[in-house]
Each structure stands twice: as C-alpha cells, then as structure tokens.
Symmetry: C2
Subunit: 754 residues, 2 copies
C-alpha cells in the first residue's frame, strides 16, 4: 500500500504529459537483468514493419478462409511455413469438429403482404474480393438447428431478459411467434436462447442502422459503416454453457475422441435462427402493428417501430450440413533456457467468417511479426528463460474451437506449466485496450508505458490515461490521474482466452487498439483488404504498436527472474467486486420492497393510460439479507497475504535485486503460477461446470459481457437467494485459497533469497 502512495505522488508531481517508460528495475528483474532485458526489447520493437503487416493481410484475406474452406487450410500451411522460415519449431495440430453450413435458407413475409428476403450481400465493384461468391459462406448463424416455421412476428428489441419483462407488462407473448431482435445489448447467442425460453419458435437477428449502419456514419463503400445489405454472420452456440466443439465438451476433439450424439449437444440452439440485413428487416418490421415500441427500443429505420404480434407473419426455413470439419491450429515453440516448464502462450485466430481482414487478420499479422522478431533475436543470441508458445488458432468464429480443443487436449500439461496466456483478435486505431487477470494489471501497465502511440507520440499508457481523464465522471477523474496503475477490465468471452482463463485458470490478458475505429463490416463479406486499407489502421502503424506491445509482454514474462504477478491490484479489484455484489443485493431488495409498495398502494393502476395499457409488474417475495462475511474474510486473507508478498519482494529487490539475480527461483515461480489456479473450483459455476474460474466468467445471459464473482452475482441477479448464500461461502473459500497460494509464493521467495 505504501508503494502505491509514493508512486502516485511521483506520478502526479513529477510525471507530467510525455512521461513514458519506467526507469527503475522491471518487476521480477534485478537492476542488471533489467538492463539486458531492455536492450533485447529495444531490438525487438525495431523489427515489426507495417509493410509486412500489410502484405500478410493481403495474402491471408485474399480469399474466404472459414473453417472447412480450402483457403483456411492453405493459410494454416502458409503460417506454418513462415514460422519455420523464421527459425521456429512449429507444427499444425488438427481437430475434427462439428461445423454446420447452410443447405437451405428461406425467409418470407407471408401476411399481410408478401416479401421474400434477399439474404445476399452483393458485390461492390470497387472491392475486388466482394465478388468471390462461390467461396463465401452464405449469411447464417452457426449452430442454429434446422427448422421450418411459419408464425406471427414480434419485435423484441435486443431480445435480452429485461426486454421480455417489458413485453409481459405490455401484454405481449412470444409463445408460438417468430421474434425479430436487433443486434446489440448482448452476445447474439443469447437472443435465440432467451426467445426459446419464452416459447418463441424462431428468431431473426438484424443489424439496425441506428447501432450499425447509416446512423453511425456513411455506409460502405462510401464510408466504413454497414450498408443495407450487409449481414453479421456469427455463432449462436450456447457458449456460456461451454465453448468449443459441441460434441466433445471438456475433451479435445481428436480423431478418436468420444463424441456426443448431436441430439445431446446442449449448446445447439433450441429454435432456428437467422441473421438478416436491415434491407431485409425493414419490410418485416414495417408490417408490424400493435403497441408502438418503447422509446429506447426504436432504431433508425424511417418508420414507427411497432411490437406486433403480427399482422406480419413470416416463414423461416433453415437446414444445414452437419458434417465434422477439420481445423488447423498452427503452434510454434521457443524452448525456455532456464524454466522450460513454465509456458508463456500467445495466440490469435486465423480463421474468418469470409475474407476476415479486420477479424482476425489485423490481429494475426502482428503476431506473425512478433514471431519474426523473436526469431531474429534468437539468431542474435537471445534465449528466453521460459518456453514461449505462439498459436494461430483455427475455428474461433464458430465457437472458439481451435483454442478450446487444444486447451482441452493439453489440459493437464497446461495446468502444470502455463504461466500466462496473451491473446489478441482484430486490431484498430486509438487506445490500447487491455482486459485480463488482475494479477497482471501492474505488469501490463509497465508494458504500456514502454510502447509509443503512433498518433500522439506519447506512450500508449499516457494516451490511455488522458483518454480516461477526458471521459471520467468528475468523481472518478482523481483516480484516473493518480492511481499508479490504470485499471484493466475483466475478461468475459468472445475470443480465444476463454478456455485458458475460465476453464484452466491460467492468468490471461487480451489486448488490441481501438476507440477511433468506425465500422460496420463485422462478419460480412466486406470485412476485407479493401475495407481495412481504406477505413481502419490503413498504414498499419497500430498493427506495429500491437506487435510491439504483445511481443514486449511475451518477452518480459519469458525473461523475468521472478514472474511479475502482483496481488495488490487483484485485492483492490476484488474489493470492488465484493462491494458491487453487496450493493446489488441491497438494490435488488430495495427495488422489490419499493415495487411491492407501489403495487399495494395502487400506483400502477393510477398511472395507467387507458389507450396504452401497461400491466403492473408482479409482486415478489422480499429477498432475505445475505451473509457476506465469507467474502469479507476471503478478501481480508487476500489483502494480508498480498502485503506480505510485497514485503518479501521488496526485500528481494533491495540493493539492485542482487538477491533476486543469484537466487534459484524455480519453486517461487511455480507457486506464483498456482495463484490463478487457486481462483478456480473444479466443480465450476452453478449449472455450467466447464467454467471453473470464480472471479471472472461470461454472463449466462450476456454471453460476451463479463460477470465478476459470477456464481454470487448471477444467483443474486436471478434472485436465487439460497444459492447466493451457498456460493458466497464457496467464493470466500476460493479467496482464502488464493491467499494461501500467495503465502506459499512468499515463503518460497523468502527461502530463495534468504
């Protein structure tokens, strides 16, 4: 705690704009090894070249490269050849996964008028790859079941649980209906899941121009935004239950793996689902009558949004090929010289929905430059202490297939050896975005101070800080100015870190630049080289910055004498989460008490507008007060052990860290690795045992969006008070376990540098 205060003063008094790199020893390094490390890192950061990034993107996005396509395999082999060309030991690992592709797709309005949806993204003449229709996957949502349904239509806004509460109050049921939801507000797979839970028989998902179209900016090809024909493909697999191959939960989808019959694969949708463009959606929405949609539900189509049901009736017909397809993970290894059994893993996927220039090649190309850079350094004599594994994942788009199957197949050795997983995905312009394990928050702040921002010429850390000061509400501005570490967000899901963090308990970070992008080509045929080089990081300078940031992260983790985990920021963050779940319980209680009172006193009847009927919400039992003491006790343990670790580390780094330099830190490092593992429970979260991390998980009803302390938070959100009380006890114990693991690391560190 002392360190924070001193550091914060330094920052605010002596570190005005322009302050950049840390000058003292790096965390986990001695003064001497810091100097060596900085020299190697400087050499490394000179390597990544925008011209190379551009040429990689041009090559890799030249043709559609989705799972099962010829160019997907071709790309994997090309990546393998490059890894080898740069001197890395690399290979392809193959898995066989369930990956449905469309056989039939039909959508028509059959009442009160007829309209047949186009379901096609046309060629744009200036954009050469947009014409590759033979190789493009049609517009569809992967892992929708087959179906042939005709039913009245209901507009459900984003289709999240609160939206159905509102529909209930408006007296609108979706039972037996086909719902049309707009993209946004949740991960797409939540929409058919919640619709199905409410009795809908089909689900359409469209991109409203308010969220993803002309309301945001000029549309493609004049501008960066989604045009009326652009469709967002994407997976609707129920990933919050488990990601990866639906037929092989928890195990690698190797050739001989035991597979579930498809009928038992619970992550397929329960109702047929299809994504459509706003061009196709408009006639359907315009044919709805019934109540006018609530204010916040209205989009930017030039019409009045109604809810239905009907008179619009639609016919939706979908059938798929349900074959197994091969996926190709390209894996390169640089063996560690000192701690070969401690692994630093770096990944980005290579498969796209179509040409996938932004998603994923803008993130993969930097990874390739990192590989080239590390290869050059090795030739110059650099030897990382730890083993580095570079991964180009296949099958991320359909359901994190490549990373999940690989992580499951190698689960045992990963749990034993993996120290950190570093992920990226698409990359853009603007600010470095970092989410991840808070055991790495301090470390990654250090890296961000050493990377130059291409636009502002400040460090990316300084620009992030200015961005936060500019956007913080006044109450939070002081923290943005003075907290030594900028806070990093927690990881939900939506990219390949999921299996590493949530299933295996490996400390993970995800990074990429963004915030100055504008674009609406996500998962459409227009996410291609033409679009990227006209509207995104057109000169690839942020691609270079990402290669520099991720590569520096990898090197610094691989080279450190002591793994640079920190538990102060973890403790500080978990305290916030504990405060949040307490407040959530209090707020829920207050809301229910207040609403019951309003129902009793007749408020809803009194304010009802007879021309716009709105039923009172149902009365609910008043929640009990929960016993949060186990979380407080766990937090106290975390705080106590974190302080002791800080003291031991301070002791070890006295006198330039000479003790650190000469010590054998194998046991201390091994214990440090166990801390993130200690944050998991083998039984996982309630009703989803695949998710084992107890601090972070994608929300059961958000999909990508993170829920921190998920077992506690979601049981409160879902008003399961008994479960909440039980989970508080479990999670409190998890925090105490983490405290014990930290204590173990402290002891080993003390012993080593005695």
């Amino acid at each position: 705690m002392k360190r924070s205060v001193v550091y914060s003063l330094c920052l605010s008094l002596y570190a005005p704009a322009g302050f950049s790199a840390e000058t003292g020893p790096l965390r986990g390094f001695s003064t001497e090894s810091t100097r060596t490390e900085r020299d190697w890192e400087t050499k490394f950061r000179a390597v990544p070249d925008p011209a190379n990034l551009r040429s990689y993107m041009q090559r890799l996005s030249a043709r559609p490269h989705h799972v099962g396509s010829p160019y997907d395999k071709d790309n994997a082999e090309w990546i393998l050849s490059k890894f080898k060309e740069w001197g890395l030991d690399a290979q392809i690992e193959t898995f066989d996964v369930l990956f449905p592709t469309p056989k039939e797709r039909a959508l028509e309005l059959v009442e009160p008028t007829r309209f047949t949806a186009k379901l096609e993204e046309p060629t744009v003449s200036t954009d050469s790859t947009s014409s590759q229709h033979q190789e493009q996957l049609p517009t569809y949502n992967a892992y929708s079941i087959d179906g042939d349904v005709t039913a009245p239509l209901v507009y459900v806004n984003y289709g999240i649980p609160e939206d159905y509460d509102m529909l209930d109050r408006l007296g609108i049921s979706v039972k037996g209906a086909i719902v049309i939801a707009r993209y946004g507000g949740s991960w797409r797979g939540i929409k058919p899941k919640v619709a199905g839970e409410h009795g809908a028989v089909g689900c359409l998902i469209y991109s409203d121009p308010h969220d993803d179209g002309y309301f945001q900016g000029e549309v493609f090809p004049e501008g960066a935004w989604r045009n009326k024909d652009g469709v967002q493909r994407g997976s609707v697999m129920d990933m919050p239950v488990y990601p990866g191959d639906p037929l092989t939960p928890g195990v690698g989808a190797t050739k001989d793996a035991k597979r579930l019959p498809r009928s038992e694969a619970v992550t397929l949708t329960k109702i047929p689902v299809m994504p459509i463009s706003y061009g196709d959606a408009q006639p359907l929405l315009a044919a709805l009558k019934g109540p006018v949609a609530p204010f916040a539900w209205r989009g930017a189509l030039p019409m009045t949004y109604h809810l239905g049901p009907g008179p619009a009736k639609v016919h939706l017909k979908l059938s798929f090929n349900w074959d197994l397809k091969p996926i190709y993970d390209v894996i390169a290894r640089i063996p560690g010289a000192t701690y070969p059994d401690e692994w630093i893993i770096r990944g980005n996927h290579h498969d796209g929905w179509v040409n996938g220039a932004e998603d994923p090649i803008s993130g993969l190309a930097p990874l390739l430059e990192e590989a080239r850079g590390l290869g050059i350094l090795m030739k110059q004599g650099w030897k990382p202490k730890r083993t580095i594994i570079l991964c180009a994942w296949d099958g991320e788009e359909p359901g994190l297939l490549g990373s999940t199957e690989w992580a499951e197949a190698h689960a045992e050795e990963l749990q034993r050896n993996a120290a950190v997983y570093i992920n990226s995905d698409g990359n853009g312009r603007g600010y470095l975005g970092v989410e991840g394990s808070h055991t790495l928050e301090r470390f990654i702040n250090g890296v961000a101070r050493d990377i130059d921002d291409p636009e502002s010429k400040l460090s990316v850390w300084k620009r992030m800080q200015f961005g936060r000061i500019a956007n913080a509400p006044p109450a939070d501005r002081q923290e943005a100015r003075s907290r030594p570490d900028l806070r990093i967000a927690a990881l939900g899901s939506g990219s390949d870190y999921t299996a590493f963090l949530d299933h295996l308990g490996i400390a993970s970070v995800n990074m990429g630049f963004g915030g100055e992008d504008g674009g609406g080509i996500y998962h459409s045929i227009y996410d291609d080289f033409y679009w990227y080089t006209h509207f995104a990081d057109t000169d690839f300078v942020y691609g270079r910055a990402l290669a520099q940031a991720a590569g520096t992260t990898v090197m610094r983790l691989a080279d450190a004498e002591l793994l640079p985990f920190d538990f102060d920021d973890l403790t500080d963050t978990v305290r916030r989460y504990v405060d949040e779940v307490k407040k959530l319980a209090t707020d829920k209680r207050d809301q229910i008490v207040e609403r019951n009172r309003q129902i009793d006193e007749g408020l809803f009847a009194a304010i009802e507008d007879p021309r716009h009927k709105m039923a009172a919400p149902p009365k609910e039992p008043v929640p009990p007060f929960l016993n949060f003491a186990p979380l407080d006790n766990g937090l106290a343990a975390l705080q106590r052990t974190s302080q002791l670790y800080d003291e031991a580390l301070a002791h070890a780094t006295e006198n330039g860290g000479s003790a650190l330099a000469r010590a054998a830190l194998r046991e201390a490092n091994a214990k440090l690795i166990t801390v993130e593992r200690a944050l998991t429970l083998n039984d996982g979260l309630p009703n989803r045992p695949w998710f084992k991390h107890q601090i972070y998980a994608p929300g059961f009803y958000t999909g990508y969006g993170v829920k921190t302390l998920p077992a506690v938070r979601e049981s409160i959100e879902q008003k399961d008070w008994k479960l909440a009380d039980e989970e508080i006890v479990k999670v409190g114990k998890v925090l105490e376990n983490a405290g014990e693991a930290i204590q173990g690391a402290t002891s080993e560190l003390g012993r080593a540098v005695k």
Copy 2:
C-alpha cells in the same frame, strides 16, 4: 414547519390511495364560510359539459382564425355573445399591432444539385378543414425580417449556444452561412438569434422525425404525429427582450399610442428565418458533407447527418406585408361584492395559427364553460367577494400580443388591484400540470385535491403524486410521498401569463392536463377538430376537468375571506434556487479549473483523432468566488416573516376561524397582494427592463424555459462575475422587501383579528 411534519405523517399513515378532498377549513376561509364555499363549488363543478366543449371547439376551429383573419374577429364576436348570453358584463377591447404575413417565400437547393422546397401542407382527404387553403396562413415564422440570401448550409443541431461551442471545436464557422436547425432544445426564436450572433445570414428550422414525426408514433392521418409535410409555424420575435407588439414596448398598442419606427423594433430577427417540414429538409441535409454530426445531434431521417458547410448551397427568399392588424380581446367582468378592487383574472387565448383546435381552443372551451357555470351560479345568488375578470385573448401566437397590450394598457389599475392571474392554453389528457408563483403552491394543491381525474377516478392531486412517485429517482421518491404539497414548476414564458407575472408582478398560475398526449400537429393546418377528436381528449373529459380545476381556482380565490397566499412553500422553493445558483457558480469554477488543467497538461492534443479533428476548447480565466451572503440574508428574512405570518394565520383560524369571519380584512388582503409585487424591481433584469420579476423569467437563451433568480443565474451562466456580484445584492434586497411585505400582511392580519 410544524404543520408540514404533522401533515406529512397524516398523509403517509392515514391517506392511502383514494384520499382526495381536504376536509378541514379551506385556507383563508372560516369553518362556516368553507361550508358555503364548498356548496357553491360543488354546484359549479356539475356544470361543465363535454358536449358543450365539443361544440365550442367545432365552432371556433371551423375556419382558420389567426390575427387579422375574418374568422378571428368572428370568433371574438361569438365569444362576446356567449359571455353576454350567460349574463356576464363583457366587451371587446381592440389594439392595433404589427403583424407580418408572407408576400414571398422561396427556398431552393442550388448546389450541388437543385431542389425546390414545397413549403406547403397538403389536404388530407379525411380531414375536411385541411383543405381551406385560401384562408390558411402559409408556413412561416412571424417577425422574421425580409431577406434574399444564397449561402452554404450548416447543420447546427438545435442551434443553441452549446451547439456553437461544439461547432467551434470542430472548426466549423457559420459566418456567411445559412444554418439549418431542428426544432427543440429551446424556444424557436432563440435559433435565429444565436445564429445571427454567430454571423449566419439565414436560418431554417425543421421538425426532425426523431423529435416530432414517425420516430415518436404513426403520422397523421393514420396516427397523431407530424407527417413529412407538416410544418411548425410560429413566432420568432425576440420575446425574452419584451413580448407584445414590437412597436409599442411597455405601453398598450392603442390607436393613438406612440409607435417606434419598424427599424427600431429590436425584437424583430436580425436574419431571415423560415420553418420547413422534414420532407423539405431531407434533400438539404442529405446534400451536406463535412464532419459527421455528433451522436446526440443525429435525428431520425434515414441518412448520415453531416454538418457541412456545404457543398449544399441554398437560396432563401422571404418578404412580408408589414401592416398593422387589429386584435380583439374579449373581456368579461363579474364585480366583487366585498372587495371589488381585488381582481382575480382568468385567461386563455382564442387566436390560432390556422384552425387551432388543440392550440388554443382545447383550453379556451373550458374557460367558456367556466363562464357559463359562473353565470348560472350568479343567477342562483352566488356573489364573489372579489371581482372576476375572464379574458379571451387575441394575438397570443405571434407574440402574446393581446394579453401583453391589455396588461400594458391597464398596467396602473392592474398593479393596484390584481391579486392573481390564472392561465391555460392547449389542453390534453393525463396529469394536471401546474406552474406558477410559489405563493400559490399550497393553495393550488388544495384545489387539485378536489378535482376528479377522469381516467383513474382518483383526485387529480393523487394521480399527480403517483406519477411523481413512479418517475422520481429513488432519492426524490420520499419527498414525492411525504411532502404535503406537490411542488409546482416555475413559469418561464410561452403563454399569456407573461405580462402579468413578469412585467407587473401579479401572482400567476398556468394549468392544463397532459402527459398522455402524443401529437405532432402543433402549429400546422392539421391542428383541427378532426385531429383533436381522433387523437387527443376525444371525449372532452379532461376539458371538463380543466374547467372544474380552473373554475374552482377562480371561485376559491374570489370568495376567500383572506387571500390564501402562503410563504412557506415560497421560502422552501427560493432556498432551492439559492442552492442551485451557488452550486452553478461552484460547478462553473470547477469546470474551468479542470479544463484549464487539461489544456495545460496537453490532454486535448493527446486524445485527438487525426481523422476527426477536434480543437481544444479555449483557456478561460478562473472565476472568482462570489459573495452569496446577500441572498442568504434575504432568504433568512423570508423565512422569519413567513413563520410569523403562519403563526398569525393560525391564531386567526383558531376556533373555526370565527375571528377571520368577523374581521375586516381589507388591509390584510391588500398587503398580501403586495408580496408578489415586492419580488419585482422597477429597473427589471439586466438589459431587459421589461422583465421586472426577480424570481422568475424566461431565459435569454432558452426563450420558454424558465430561469429562476434570473439576474443572478444568467450572469453566472454568461460568466459575467462582476454583474453576478451586483445582482446578488439586488436580489437579496428583493427578498428582504418581500419579507417586509409579508410582515406588513402579518401586522394587518393581527390587527384585524385582534
């Protein structure tokens, strides 16, 4: 203060939903006279009949009845005849006012393509009066100057001062440009005023479908909302300087009044202005390039909103007939039996922009039923103690002409005699809305408890309370539940109370129902009997409720032994205003300090996106701390004297108010009338001497929107710190003056009931 607490307990413990009328003595009445009053009021409230309201509306909105039209005069004469028929002493008072009507109107896009605006509202076949094109005023903004300009177009959002700050940061100047602003965010007259201040040469104002069109609901004639051709006419006279005839500020526009030459009439616009439909606006807006409009500036047209300037260039040509036109105020009087020189005045205008069913006939028709009801009561022997004056104003739409000229012409006797002015304007469905002098807050709450809400069958007070509980943020809910009086809002401008309250210091209230209306026919040809009877208070039950509420208000004020002013709620409200201006000064200071710091530390340069340039705001001098002690001292005087008055009143109403019943209260009443006068200063507000009230005024840059403690608040908003310090002293003195007036009333009351 004690009373409030007890009362609040009563309310929350013993007054559940359904609680309605007050049962104790009415404020200002003895127990006995309360009984008599309640009997008369009950008789009165049985009179208003929806069928009559409907027939009045049908008659009065049958043809266009704007200032200068034959039907305007015809309506006035018909109203006069009805007043007389009902036994009232009535007459027409005529003034001659400047009222421009269009000679030429032309608007065309001349670059990069050509488009000629239609500037016409077509006939809707189901709506019979929409075809009366010969009599309809064309679409225009009254008191725009003549002009013929061709210039590049700039989109300025709502065209309020903050919007120009944003344009400055985006590097866009309107100098020499024609601006296009959307309706909303301010009163319309502010838009050309601010545009002119920034160097624009012309101004277009359009109704965006987001604010007033299909985004809100189905458009006319299928629904209530503005269709693509509907145009909002309206005055753009600079009314925050002075309303009424531009040629006769401060004096009645009688035949022989001294008139300014038109060139010296400062309330005419400085640049030509015209309102247009969104049908006409869309091609102009679509032709703009330049930066994409900020998020909050974008409307619901199906396009990307750009700011310009250009390449769109438009030609705007306007010329007007600048004749004097006669206006016809219809004035009826019921002489007071006890205090004939204390006047209770009730008004609503009768002129419309076209057929004006909603605006103003839906408010005027209830006034007519009130007149009929009072006539019936008189025949049954009812004699009000005070004189009642019923007014049907002409010329409200162009600039509050009829009420202002009448108030100016009769200023001396009004200042001597007028106790209260009660206004209404258009009326709708839902909740009783009341704004006005806080000396009447407690009184008007009492009236609201005695009026039945047609939909909920509760009192309108109870429904208001439920509405506030439902919409209050949790922090304010307790007050909505327990404060004995529901707060009333302060009066800005926009209707005929303005001259009474702001110029003459007569306590005023404005009332009308609303909150469940939806509509976009404001100031268009579609505001007519067809629209009103299909989409508004179609069965006129809220019209009846307004007649009951306003009529009860008039009777209770006219019949009270002691005028029922209260100074507790005034004190409580002024305390809030004082707290607000203090906080405003602090916030302004904090903002400037913070922004200067951000400029100094290079924040704006650091976060600039090179593809979307946004300049740093200018550095500003740090504001001084202001001396608010004079306001605190004035407030203390108000509080002290208010308490003493309460004690005197409590004493006077002991034993059923027998003292009150027998006392000669002439002097006490006369002193009570002076309290609101004491809240004015003869010099008026800085730079606008016509506005004399120091607690309430329409904002110089909001137009309708009220600024409370306007001299202090606006000088802080405009960062004129020296002026703010001076005005704080003046307003503090005004509060002390009011305290003295209250003290005077207290003494007289004590003397009378000794």
